[in-house]
């Protein structure tokens, strides 16, 4: 198989054994990008010079006989809402069209310390608002499994890049399912860590209390490897957790005997695709066959989670996005005075979905409505959290579908925001509770990948990675590649 289709694990071995060079690997990925990017459109900015320079530095290390870290020389894609010093970071918004951050996000510093290679900045829904990457201010991304389908969102570019062989791994961000849902649509593994486990410093905020950076990879092992690189307390993020990080690869033992799995009945919603449901139940049977025990649990406030999310996230967003006013950086509209300049700037440079959420959030926080909307949503959030606490008193992990359907067609739901929002119904409660969850492929429906979500307790990343790994080892889903460019 081509280098660009391999796992981090395999490529690290090949680099360490000097079977390949990092430059050769990077060139192969860049060649793949040349071949398929025109049809996938996973990227907003490509950084081949940076990638090759980083790769050569790794080769120099190998040549000297230095040990290299697991991500050294391995090309990855970075979601375009993660700040990269000297490289444009647009959040897929016209308002930040020319914004070049003067600093690196903490995760980027950590990846640099591991000598990882960055091939480009991945497309996304503008400011991470959306579930299909159709809301990018530049262009939609296409699903490598079916170019007529969406890759999911908002980290659609990251997931599509990995699925298309345009990157070996990627970073995404997850506010309401934005890593897991596109990972599921694109047949990749997506992990949303516990809130605070990975520093948010340098992640352009959508909804601060929900956002979390995480990996999108081809396998569970690769997910653990990227987590090892980016996890940890950061003094620059006061919401980050002051606890050491384990070596996540040590959790991948295949042993899940006695693992207690909960199936929250509220997540198996009506309207769910029958094939998706079937795939999940088969996956659960598989986990049981491996020694896990399962029981049905109830999480009664799930039905309110979506509404609470669509109060809290836009409220925070309305405030986080207020800084894009044309005064000190980014797009500036014309105006005879400061207020009209603000208005033209924001009217012209924000897309519809962003405007919709800013208005929703501004309204929810307005005096006279705060108690009825925002405060009530916070109360619902506490109840949702309590649902998780109760469930986790009985079980070790929760298993659900990642999304109720497989990837839908481009344009299919873009005129109906509400239908689009429903795609995140299984992932949103996890962000409200701040717990970790992973999505991994568990089958196919109509030729499109189906994702299974495994949710863990706070800081329970090791457990969900172990369960996911045990399952993954029983199937070849992780080895399958999108048919893109092969036989077409």
């Amino acid at each position: 198989m081509d280098l660009h289709q391999q796992t981090i694990e395999a490529l690290h071995a090949a680099l360490s054994n000097k079977q390949i060079s990092a430059e050769e690997l990077t060139q192969d990925v860049l060649k793949r990008i040349d071949a398929v990017e025109a049809s996938v459109k996973a990227y907003l900015t490509l950084t081949p010079e940076i990638a090759l320079e980083q790769a050569r530095a790794v080769d120099a290390k190998i040549k000297r006989g230095d040990a290299i870290s697991p991500l050294a020389g391995i090309p990855g894609a970075i979601k375009d809402n993660i700040c990269t010093k000297g490289t444009r970071t647009s959040c897929a918004s016209k308002i930040l069209d020319k914004f070049v951050p003067p600093y690196d996000a903490t995760v980027i510093e950590k990846l640099a310390a591991q000598d990882a290679v960055m091939v480009g900045k991945a497309n996304m829904d503008e400011f991470a608002m959306g579930g299909s990457t159709e809301n990018s201010g530049y262009h939609p991304t296409h699903n490598p499994w079916d170019l007529a389908a969406v890759p999911g969102g908002s980290s659609g570019g990251s997931a599509a890049a990995v699925a298309a062989g345009e990157a070996v791994w990627a970073l995404g961000s997850d506010t309401g399912g934005s890593i897991r849902q596109p990972a599921a649509y694109c047949g990749t593994v997506g992990l949303k860590p516990t809130y605070g486990r990975v520093s948010r410093y340098g992640l352009v905020a959508y909804a601060s209390s929900l956002d979390q950076i995480g990996p999108i990879t081809r396998t569970v092992t690769d997910s653990a490897l990227v987590m090892n690189a980016i996890c940890g307390y950061d003094a620059k993020d006061s919401t980050s957790i002051a606890a050491d990080c384990p070596d996540y690869t040590k959790a991948l033992t295949r042993d899940i005997k006695g693992l207690k799995i909960g199936l929250p009945k509220e997540y198996f919603v009506s309207g769910m695709d029958a094939d998706v449901e079937k795939a999940i139940y088969q996956a659960i049977d598989q986990l049981v066959a491996l020694g896990a025990e399962y029981k049905e649990v109830s999480m009664p406030h799930t039905q309110y989670a979506l509404s609470a999310y669509y109060m809290i996230a836009p409220a925070e967003a309305s405030s986080n996005l207020a800084r894009y006013d044309g005064v000190s950086y980014g797009y500036r509209g014309e105006g005879n005075d400061i207020v009209s300049m603000y208005k033209t700037t924001r009217s012209e440079a924000f897309g519809d979905e962003v405007k919709r959420r800013i208005m929703l959030g501004t309204y929810a926080l307005s005096s006279g409505y705060y108690d009825a909307y925002y405060l009530r949503a916070l109360k619902v959030r506490s109840l949702v959290k309590r649902d998780f606490d109760r469930a986790f008193a009985d079980v070790d992990v929760l298993v659900t579908p990642t999304a109720p359907t497989t990837a839908f067609k481009l344009g299919e739901k873009s005129s109906d925001p509400l239908a689009m929002y429903l795609q995140d119904v299984c992932t949103i409660p996890v962000n409200l509770a701040g717990v970790p969850a992973i999505s991994l492929p568990c089958g196919f429906a109509g030729g499109m990948p189906v994702g299974m979500q495994i949710i863990g307790k706070p800081l329970g990343e090791e457990t969900i990675l172990r369960a996911a790994y045990a399952y993954e080892q029983e199937h070849d889903f992780a080895a399958r590649r999108a048919p893109l460019g092969e036989g077409k």
């Binding site: 970071t89 930040l96 951050p101 006061s238 919401t239 409220a315 925070e316 603000y342 705060y370």
Partner: protein
């Protein structure tokens, strides 16, 4: 109609931490524009705030010094509004759970003491500064923004509407400034903007219990302007009410040059700040042990110090009040007394010569060229009779100018007082002999003549003769 004035003050004070509230940038005043900035205080996409713990400590200090209750659990909130010098278009502040609540301070106006309630103290970040290209906002083609001040830590101290006159408001501000200086949390320089005051003022008929409609007075940047602005508002509102008009709730600014207040915006244009909890900062937990340790570290505050000076040093309450109004002055006083000077003499000198020189040359006590030890030595020279009080003024001038030790000055200039009887007698006799006419005049009952003779003696001794002895001996000799 007779009205009662109701005033409440909101004071913003810049804390004198070395770094800003949410980043490590310097808070140095007067730095070149946009040099004390970083991605965090510029509010660039992706940045996060981290609280400077010194700010919390200073807020707790201020809270305790103003007799407040310190909340064990408080939090930051976002106050959302658009303004070009506010890089994030929200200000991180505190709303429903501020760090300190329910305190008070005592003031005295015309000998009447009064306790003024403090509603709350909260922490927040300062905004930047707009620099207009022209002379005023209206005739400027463009404006530039200086973000050096953005993120400088502020405390907002809100009083209860307990103040009943502009004088009381001024006394409150003076007392507040004095306390903040004592606890060393702020420079309190109004001219540098490190102490700013907004005032709410309303009038109500005497005896009424409900408040009248208030106007908010902004941009008052000296204690004098606060008082003048409030006096103007008192009159304006009273005339309006007398004419059957209504005070409208609005924000007015004090125009120092014209001596009037001008409407800035009415309530209808008021902001909806859309406060909500700051999601990028975890709540602030202040442990009881921490509060106790801060309380233990508080210095003696102005009221206690005034009491001590009047009780222990025998100063009048007034004198003790004047000296303790500024911590630097009180420290200077204590140092002079500690060096062995008499407390009352020291107080007189501080309020007299020393203050006169400081004011004339616009020097702060802390930078006084005459150090407490030197002043104490000089006062001891007076005490011992080495120099007279009058000569002491000359010595002090020289000390101020050259920084020399008083004994050295006395020696160099030969200013030692002549208290030797035989020496003085000789001079007295010589002067009597040389001025028979004056002696005759004196004997004829002209008391003025003795003044002339004393003058002649002092002239001959260059003022060094002990004046008491001269008088005594002269009267004896002419007897």
């Amino acid at each position: 109609m007779a009205y009662e004035t109701v005033i409440g003050l909101e004071v913003h004070t810049e804390l004198k931490t070395h770094s800003k509230i949410f980043c490590g940038c310097s808070t140095q005043f007067g730095s070149e524009q946009n040099t004390n900035v970083c991605p965090v205080c510029l509010g660039l996409p992706g940045v996060l705030p981290v609280v400077n713990e010194k700010v919390i400590e200073y807020a707790v200090r201020a809270g305790l010094a103003l007799n407040c209750e310190i909340l064990p659990f408080s939090k930051f909130d976002r106050k959302n509004y658009y303004y070009p010098d506010l890089p994030k278009n929200f200000q991180t502040s505190q709303q429903d759970l501020p760090i300190a609540l329910k305190g008070h301070l005592d003031i005295e106006v015309n000998g009447v003491k009064k306790r003024i309630g403090i509603t709350r103290i909260h922490m927040e970040e300062d905004a930047g500064k707009l620099v207009h290209a022209g002379n005023s906002i209206t005739d400027s083609d463009y404006a530039l923004v200086d973000y050096n001040r953005t993120g400088v830590p502020l405390l907002e101290i809100v009083s209860e509407p307990d103040l009943r006159s502009p004088e009381e408001a001024k006394a409150y501000l003076e007392k507040l400034k004095s306390i903040l200086e004592y606890i060393d949390v702020s420079d309190c320089k109004m001219e540098e903007g490190s102490l700013r005051c907004d005032a709410n003022i309303s009038l109500r008929p005497v005896g009424a219990s409900e408040f009248g409609t208030k106007a908010e007075l902004k941009n008052v940047n000296s204690f004098r302007s606060v008082q003048r602005g409030l006096e103007y508002e008192e009159l304006r509102q009273a005339e309006l009410l007398d004419d059957g008009g209504k005070v409208i709730q609005e924000t007015r600014s004090w125009d120092e040059a014209r001596g009037i207040t001008v409407s800035m915006r009415s309530k209808e244009q008021a902001h909806d700040y859309r406060f909500f909890p700051e999601p990028d900062l975890v709540p602030i937990m202040v442990a009881k042990e921490f509060v106790d340790s801060v309380r233990d570290s508080l210095p003696e505050l102005p009221d206690a110090r005034q009491k001590r000076l009047s009780e222990q040093c025998g100063l009048s309450e007034y004198d003790a009040g004047v000296i303790t109004a500024s911590r630097a002055m009180a420290d200077y006083f204590d140092a002079v007394v500690a060096e062995g000077a008499d407390a009352k003499t020291a107080a007189n000198w501080l309020m007299g010569e020393v203050s006169k020189h400081l004011n004339n040359e616009n020097v702060s006590v802390a930078d006084c060229p005459v150090k407490p030890l030197a002043l104490a030595h000089m006062l001891q020279l007076i005490d011992k009779g080495t120099i007279s009080g009058k000569i002491a003024k000359t010595v002090f001038e020289e000390m101020w100018a050259s920084g020399k030790d008083p004994e050295m000055i006395v020696k160099e200039k030969g200013l030692v007082q002549i208290s030797d009887v035989s020496e003085i007698v000789a001079i007295v006799d010589a002067v009597i002999a040389a001025n028979p006419q004056s002696v005759e005049d004196y004997k004829a009952g002209k008391q003025k003549a003795i003044g002339f003779l004393v003058g002649q003696i002092m002239k001959q001794t260059k003022g060094r003769a002990n004046p008491e002895m001269v008088n005594k001996l002269l009267v004896e000799r002419l007897g």
